[in-house]
Symmetry: C2
Subunit: 192 residues, 2 copies
């Protein structure tokens, strides 16, 4: 944002290895959860005497499948990038920050609209003549609920990752302080 | 986060007045939009030969009303806090950052689930025997759509405010750099 110096660009690597490992694991966890939510939703269909119902009949669940796929892909990619021990640049910290933020919004929206559909499927809404469907399609509803619950855990992970990646960005901005201060002290000591 | 210094706490006020005005306006805009979305939704009811339909019959719209109310209240409060020219502390920047983030999630979820309900009201879903309602309740659906559209503009404003408040936090972390560097240069010059 024009306030950084070259020192910030070149200084320090990707943090201490423990922190790098923690970040990588924090990115692999939502990947696993996204894949689980994706697979549960993809296999979610039920046929009985009332008819057949599949996840693809409901727009919200189709969106959840796509969002989970995108999220799993991004989580894997970002975990790989985070795992490689190379100097971290400002532009990379900014990219992580913005993309983590965007993914949080995408996955939160998927969880929210799917929750609404699951709620309507369980309760129905008499005023607009939407009948509940879960007494007929019990196993469909339970699988959908499980998938949505996993999506919310992913949302929490991503909210955490957003804070983490913004903290990473703060510490990048902070880094030149110690550098500049130690130079200042050095200069003072030297010239006294 | 333990990396700040006293200099960061005491230094500089709330930024230049232009920036303060911009932030205040950026917080008053979503307040106005939230109130508009709230009023449109609250007045959204229709009675005709098919029956009566009100926003309170749909859980998603009730949530939208509550979320808009909370958002309008927070926007007003934060605009007032942002408008007062007093020294900005780290804890205040952190509070703005976290609350802006939280409000973005709340209002995004409200917009997402209401969009899903409006979509279902327009299109229906044959596979779960949910009939469309908007041919019977046209004016209800149009008002709901307007309210949801305003909610999405609020979401965009808040996504922007989240970035803004994180930038404010970055600049706070950045602030001591110039301070420390100028001290260093001063020390060097003095002792040579």
């Amino acid at each position: 944002m024009g306030k950084t110096t070259d020192a910030a660009e070149d200084e320090s690597g990707n943090g201490i290895p423990t922190m790098r490992t923690a970040e990588t694991l924090l990115r692999i966890l939502p990947m696993a959860l996204c894949l689980a939510a994706l697979v549960i939703m993809l296999k979610d269909s039920q046929t009985n005497e009332y008819g057949a119902l599949s996840y693809s009949d409901l727009g919200a669940f189709r969106y959840l499948v796509h969002a989970s796929g995108v999220c799993a892909g991004y989580s894997l990619l970002s975990a790989v990038v985070a795992a490689v021990p190379r100097p971290s640049t400002m532009s990379r910290a900014w990219a992580f920050f913005l993309l983590d933020q965007l993914l949080t919004y995408i996955i939160l929206a998927a969880g929210a609209i799917s929750t609404e559909v699951v709620y309507l499927a369980y309760k129905g809404d008499a005023s607009v003549t939407w009948s509940e469907s879960c007494s007929s399609y019990g196993s469909f509803c339970r699988k959908a609920t499980a998938s949505v619950a996993l999506t919310f855990i992913v949302t929490l992970c991503y909210a955490g990752l957003s804070l983490f990646s913004s903290y990473r960005l703060f510490s990048k901005y902070d880094a030149p302080l110690a550098y500049a201060t130690s130079k200042g002290i050095e200069a003072t000591t030297f010239h006294i």
